[in-house]
């Protein structure tokens, strides 16, 4: 210890890292200072910030650099193990992966097969690090990535991990978390390094490090400039507004770029005419699907007005993978009729589903008002009540929340059947024509219910515990279809479901 001198990590390491991870210079420096064995290694360290801000990537890269960097000179040496909590199902799994990775990093051949508790973990790590003689300046860095997302973590897990470095002096424990509660390690003080989300300028800088290939008949410099401005525009239009993470910005940029540059390829605009390009591409900047790429594109009813007609050029050129514009849209058009619930279900099932929705979303006490024919000879429907009440009431101090927003309530099957019987005559033209034969449709109804249940559009409440016959009319059910679906379904039969809902 006598001749140990303070020494900052190699500047070369830091600068190469800073180039690989732009806009994170201060974090990299602080982290290196607090991890490097000959700088100011601390016992515990917390890195926090929202997702996609470079916490794990930078830590990993830095530790790798420091490790290899130190191999040559005899002096301080550093080993590390990174354990990602999302990969560990239980806390025992976590402990065993810690031990396993630490043993691998230290080339330790006597790693135990079992490690169930923190205390065992502490013992095992002590065996590897404390009871084995190591050089004075040896440091071992244990990185717990996403430890706040650990499943089945006992409340003492984090404080216990933070105590490991008290037991083992040469250990540094790094916690990578999203948003640490105050004093969550239950220890006196732990340095925190904040990885803030990127600002617009930083987004642009990062994206500019990787410009796309130069467009035809423009120079690489022009393309790079255009790309930077384009990225900034994408940030303003999409990222800041709706999804401020680096991956989504990157994705949106790469998806929009071909369409944005289509006028250049077509020769209408020069790459310098950014404003014209921007105005020409305005519509694309409003495309939500850039941010929300569904697995199946069927649920998006919103037609993208111009994407097909306006510029066929990018498709023709095929320079880059286009976002689902042309191909998917045609696909969607083809797919829509077959996946639409309204066209898939038979009439009885649709009616039942509507009845179930009404049963779930109307209070029982309104049934009489809605479905009774007693007073008027005709059914009196409370048309538009929900609209009138919901919107027109004005903002009083405590607003009532629309019932339909609260989710589906359970109802007794019998009630649904009653509603079904009540509305059937009104909604189903054929039924009326046929004079409402009771005999024929009993099986039909039963099958429709079974169909809906098997599709999980109707869900039995209490399921297993309730037991009994699924056809038991006293059983409780809940509708499992959303408002949009039901409304569409209703319209497919000429029914405005909203008219039948009472707030």
């Amino acid at each position: 210890m006598t001749n140990a001198l303070f020494q900052l990590p190699d500047e070369l390491v830091l600068t190469t890292l800073a180039q690989a991870f732009p806009c994170r210079d201060s974090q990299i420096r602080a982290l290196a200072t607090l991890l490097h064995p000959s700088a100011a290694p601390c016992r515990n360290l917390v890195l926090y910030g929202t997702e996609a801000t470079g916490k794990s990537a930078i830590t990993t890269a830095l530790l790798e650099k420091l490790e290899t960097d130190d191999v040559d000179n005899e002096g301080p040496s550093l080993k590390f193990a990174i354990v990602s909590s999302v990969e560990c199902i239980t806390s025992r799994h976590l402990f065993e992966s810690i031990v396993g990775k630490a043993a691998a990093a230290l080339s330790w051949d006597r790693a135990p097969s079992k490690c169930e508790t923190v205390s065992q973990l502490a013992v095992e790590l002590s065996k590897m690090l404390k009871y084995t003689s190591r050089s004075e300046s040896f440091r071992f860095v244990l990185v717990s990535d996403g430890i706040d997302r650990q499943r089945e973590a006992p409340p003492t897990l984090l404080p216990a991990l933070a105590r490991l470095s008290e037991i083992i002096p040469c250990l540094t424990t790094v916690f990578i978390v999203t948003s640490p509660p105050a004093n969550f390690l239950r220890t006196s003080f732990v340095p925190h390094i904040h990885f803030p989300n990127y600002t617009k300028a930083e987004f642009v800088t990062i994206l500019a490090t990787d410009p796309p290939v130069a467009l035809p008949n423009t120079t690489a410099q022009e393309t790079a400039d255009l790309w930077a401005r384009f990225a900034a525009a994408v940030h303003d239009a999409l990222a800041r507004a709706a999804s401020r993470t680096l991956p989504s910005v990157k994705h949106a940029c790469s998806a929009l770029w071909p369409r944005f540059t289509a006028p250049i390829l077509a020769g209408t605009h020069a790459p310098r005419e950014f404003s014209k390009l921007l105005v020409a591409a305005r519509v694309y900047f409003h495309d939500e699907r850039l941010l929300d790429p569904g697995i199946v594109a069927l649920a998006v009813p919103a037609p993208q007005p111009t994407s097909n007609g306006t510029n066929p050029t990018p498709a023709a050129n095929g320079t880059a993978p286009l976002l689902p514009t042309t191909p998917t849209q045609t696909l969607k058009a083809a797919a829509a009729p077959t996946t639409d619930l309204a066209s898939l279900l038979p009439t009885t099932a649709r009616l039942l589903l509507l009845a179930a929705y009404l049963a779930s979303h109307n209070a029982t006490r309104h049934d009489l008002v809605l479905f009774s024919t007693h007073h008027h000879g005709r059914r009196r429907r409370r048309g538009g009540l929900s609209v009138g009440v919901g919107r027109g009431r004005g903002r009083s101090k405590h607003r009532k929340i629309a019932r339909k927003l609260l989710g589906a309530h359970a109802f007794v099957l019998e009630r649904m059947m009653a509603i079904f019987a009540a509305v059937r005559g009104e909604w189903d033209a054929k039924f009326l024509e046929s004079g409402g034969g009771e005999a024929t449709d009993a099986a039909d109804v039963g099958m429709a219910i079974a169909t809906l249940a098997s599709l999980r559009l109707l869900v039995r409440v209490g399921g297993a515990q309730a037991g009994g016959d699924p056809m038991d009319r006293g059983g409780k059910w809940r509708v499992n279809a959303g408002w949009e679906v039901v409304r569409g379904l209703g319209r497919s039969m000429g029914v405005e479901v909203e008219d039948w809902l009472i707030e």
């Binding site: 004093n183 105005v279 927003l405």
Partner: protein
């Protein structure tokens, strides 16, 4: 909007159908979405359109045509007199506009129904509204086109604000222009938007009256109507249910020509003299033109376009500006006035408005203008220039001050840094300050155990970071210096040894380690019963399993040899010191078995053990069971945090400097040349630093908030690490980043996008508005869309600016992603019970959440845009 694209620019927008609808006060502004597209087209088109426009204006002579055009939705030109139009085409030199307009009384009466306020007369007659005062008078041959606000509005993409007064002005300008037209070639296209006082309006009106009957009254309402040309009728219902009456009444009253005219006439002279520079159109106009010209020629950066096109663009721009002025306020200064030379210009992309001066935009550019924000010009420079930043920063830091001339300076500095950083980073204990009494008490107790074989127990109580561990560790190290091999130390931690079984095993292991028992033996002890039968078995100890055996063996080991081996006086066993960290957690273990046994052993003097429990809970004894408590000695020591700032500094100082006697212990070479000089120099530095206000603030803030020494020391780490022989002066607080933890999870808000924030605010509003403590996605999204809807109505009716992306209503899918993000970030916490909806609610829509942030907290943490800010304020 796309449908509007095709209309040639020069042509005015179709007048909205419901002219007679109550005017929404000029507030409504039309957005120009379309215009941008149009403009962006190739320049040649523009020239042609320009030409076209002139023609169209010419062709549209009479006001009567208006109604027809309205219905058709055609480009609706201001009905200027045919004469005017033709004149416009002539190249008139700039001339003073002659205020010679007459208004046809017939027309006025005709229009009166809806547009009343427009006429200058009215304005003159009625009290001047603030709005009016801002209006500009447009002069220029092209003004006719402009003159009708409605017409402007109709232009796709143009923003209209058509204040009534403005229209009148425009008309006046138009007529004036006619006169000019002869001399001025360009005037037709050029439109200036000087700001005109009411006076000016009046004057213009009066003069013009006779001249162009048709052009006189422009329905100011038209602007409103034009707002949505397609669905002109809808807005009426939604937007302006209540307003029409008041306005209308006023208008009709004001409209009385005869009465209004006179005052106007009277003030004419005044106006002329007064208005000299700014108000009178004639004066301004030439200036404006000149300006435009220079702009056209000089503006190199703008896309090159033919001069005609350029001119046309300017004109358009001017028109835009004219239309907008009324209600748009500058995004920077929030003032609505727009004067020549300092006009309000609008970005074609985001629709924000800026004053030329506020925005430092000396010349109104031609064609599309996109604000700097949208044009992203800084993006390229950013991308290019960013790399240099890191180096630049360090470079500036380095060049700071000179190295004192001390021999071996670097070596001194480095070794000092080593020691101080080790202390600051917590790798070496610092000395305990001001706790001598406590130390004395505790160490005496331990010493008694070691030397006299007493059994002792004691609790050390104090807040986190007050030095409990430091205390006991220094006792242990002091003792071990004195009595090297006469005792063992067992350290337990409540966080790590979460139940008694684990703790026992650990005790065994540590004792085995210390006593150099083989690992296998320990394992055997732990796993298989050992034979020796302990005599002192607690009475309540009935289990015979593994755990019990371990316990038994342990007790056997700890029990006094005399009890085990019966006799052998004079043999004292080695004493054991138990350090139990987080003592309170052991009190939560089942039946407190371990504590009971330890205390029992200590009290009964079966074996020489000392139990030191460390805890932060002052009431820990209350949590002990009665039988445990009765065996506890009830000896406590309390550690306190530094009581005063100087005391706090005394402790903290150890992180920044070293005492003489520490140096050797810490491995500093006292004999190295220059040692004394260096330390004198360094201590001087620290003293000086202590006096700086920044440092005092830091110290005080730590003292006042937590009194945490380690927090303060941690804040010294980076500055200490940044020292180098080239820059040996310490800067605290340093320029680098802080290692402080976040105050609360609210820091996350800064990372959120607008939509995330909108959803969060919507959910937080529901807490208050709907008086519910849990929300689900469906409720929040419903609130969000309704807020957004209201926002749109407001912005449409108040002329507020659309705030770029903030004005969009995002779809359910995207909002769902935002919602899930909030969940991930912990802003939303799952509600424990799903409530009356019952269990099994699943899916994004129905699952209930609690919002973990209060509505009023949001604006204090993150800078919100106007809209979101209002949502937070207005319930």
């Amino acid at each position: 909007m796309p449908s509007r694209n095709n209309t040639p620019k020069g042509i005015k927008r179709p007048r909205a159908q419901n002219d007679d609808s109550p005017s929404v006060p000029a507030v409504v502004k039309r957005r120009r979405l379309k215009g941008a597209d149009e403009k962006s087209g190739s320049t040649p088109n523009e020239t042609s359109t320009a030409g076209k426009r002139v023609v169209s204006t010419a062709g549209r002579p009479s006001p009567t045509t208006r109604s027809a055009t309205k219905a058709g939705g055609d480009p609706w030109e201001i009905p200027d007199s045919a004469d005017e139009a033709t004149k416009d085409e002539l190249p008139p030199p700039k001339a003073q506009p002659q205020p010679n307009k007459t208004r046809g009384s017939t027309e006025s009466s005709k229009n009166a129904i809806y547009e009343v306020p427009d006429s200058g007369d009215e304005l003159g007659g009625t009290a001047v509204t603030p709005r009016v005062s801002r209006q500009r008078m447009t002069i220029g041959a092209a003004n006719e086109a402009k003159a009708e606000p409605a017409a402007k509005a109709s232009e796709p993409g143009r923003r209209t604000r058509a204040p009534s007064a403005k229209q009148a002005v425009n008309e006046a300008g138009g007529t004036a222009k006619k006169a000019d037209a002869v001399t001025k070639p360009r005037s037709a296209r050029k439109q200036s938007r000087p700001e005109v006082d009411n006076v000016a309006d009046r004057e213009a009106d009066d003069e013009v009256v006779s001249d162009s009957p048709t052009s006189k009254h422009r329905p100011r309402k038209a602007a409103v109507d034009a707002l949505r040309a397609e669905n002109a009728h809808k807005p009426k219902g939604i937007l302006t249910p209540s307003r029409p009456n008041g306005d209308r009444g006023r208008k009709t009253v004001a409209f009385n020509r005869a009465s209004a005219k006179k005052p106007a006439g009277e003030t004419l002279e005044d106006a002329l003299s007064k208005a000299a520079g700014s108000t009178s159109g004639s004066v301004k106009k030439p200036r404006q033109k000149a300006l435009v010209k220079t702009k056209a020629t000089a503006d190199a950066e703008v896309l090159d376009s033919e001069s005609a096109a350029a001119l046309k663009d300017e004109e358009d721009k001017d028109e835009d500006d004219d239309e907008e002025e009324d209600d748009e306020v500058c995004a920077i200064c929030s003032k609505p006035d727009s004067k020549r030379g300092n006009e309000i210009v609008f970005c074609d992309n985001c629709d924000l408005a800026y004053h030329q001066k506020c925005y430092d935009l000396p010349i109104i550019p031609e064609g599309d203008w996109i604000c700097r924000n949208c044009s992203q010009e800084e993006a390229t420079s950013l991308a290019a220039g960013r790399m240099g930043v890191g180096q630049g920063k360090t470079a500036t830091v380095v060049a700071q001050d000179e190295t004192p001339s001390i021999p071996n300076f670097e070596q001194h500095l480095r070794s000092m840094q080593r020691v101080l950083l080790d202390r600051c980073a917590g790798r070496r204990c610092i000395k305990l300050c001001g706790q001598d009494e406590t130390y004395e008490k505790a160490s005496q107790l331990v010493e008694q155990t070691i030397t006299a074989g007493e059994g002792n127990s004691m609790l050390v109580i104090g807040a986190r970071g007050c030095g409990k561990t430091t205390l006991v560790e220094s006792i242990v190290s002091d003792m071990s210096k004195e009595y090297k091999n006469q005792f063992h130390v067992v350290r337990l931690n409540g966080f790590i040894h979460t139940d008694d079984k684990l703790a026992l095993r650990e005790i065994w292991r540590q004792l085995g380690k210390e006593m150099e028992v083989e690992d296998e033996l320990i394992n055997k002890v732990c796993t298989r019963p050992l034979d020796p039968k302990p005599k002192s078995k607690p009475s309540n100890w009935e289990q015979t399993n593994n755990y019990a055996d371990t316990m038994a063996s342990l007790l056997a080991l700890l029990s006094h040899p005399s009890e085990i081996a019966a006799a052998q006086d004079g043999v004292t066993s080695k004493s054991v010191v138990f350090l139990i960290d987080e003592f309170d957690l052991f009190a939560t273990h089942a039946r407190q078995t371990l504590l009971y046994n330890l205390f029992d052993i200590a009290q009964a003097r079966k074996a020489p053990i000392a139990v030191l429990g460390l805890t932060t809970r002052i009431d820990v004894v209350e949590s002990l069971e009665k039988r445990v408590k009765s065996r506890f000695s009830h000896r406590y020591v309390y550690l306190s945090l530094p009581k005063s700032l100087p005391a706090f500094w005394d402790v903290c100082k150890q992180g920044l400097t070293l005492d003489e006697d520490d140096m050797e212990a810490w491995g500093i070479d006292l004999s190295l040349k220059g040692h004394d000089e260096f330390w004198n120099w360094w201590n001087g530095k620290i003293e000086a630093l202590r006096k700086t206000s920044g440092f005092q603030d830091l110290l005080e803030s730590h003292f006042c908030s937590t009194k945490s020494v380690s927090a303060f020391l941690t804040s010294c780490v980076l500055p200490l690490a940044a020292l180098s022989p080239a820059a040996p002066s310490l800067q605290i607080p340093g320029p680098g980043m802080s290692l402080e933890p976040a105050d609360s999870k609210l820091h996350v808000l800064e990372s959120l996008s607008d939509l995330d924030l909108s959803m969060l605010i919507a959910a937080a509003r529901l807490d208050i508005v709907a008086h519910t403590d849990t929300v689900n996605f469906a409720m929040a999204y419903d609130e969000y869309t309704s807020l957004m809807g209201r926002q749109r109505v407001q912005s449409a009716s108040s002329g507020m600016l659309a705030l770029g992306g903030g004005a969009r209503v995002w779809g359910r899918g995207i909002a769902g992603m935002a919602w899930e993000r909030l969940v991930t970030l912990g802003m939303l916490i799952p509600a424990a019970t799903v409530g009356r909806a019952g269990a099994g609610q699943s899916g994004l829509d129905a699952k209930m959440w609690k919002v973990d942030v209060a509505l009023e907290e949001i604006p204090s943490v993150v800078k919100l845009n106007q809209v979101l800010g209002r949502w937070c304020r207005e319930i």
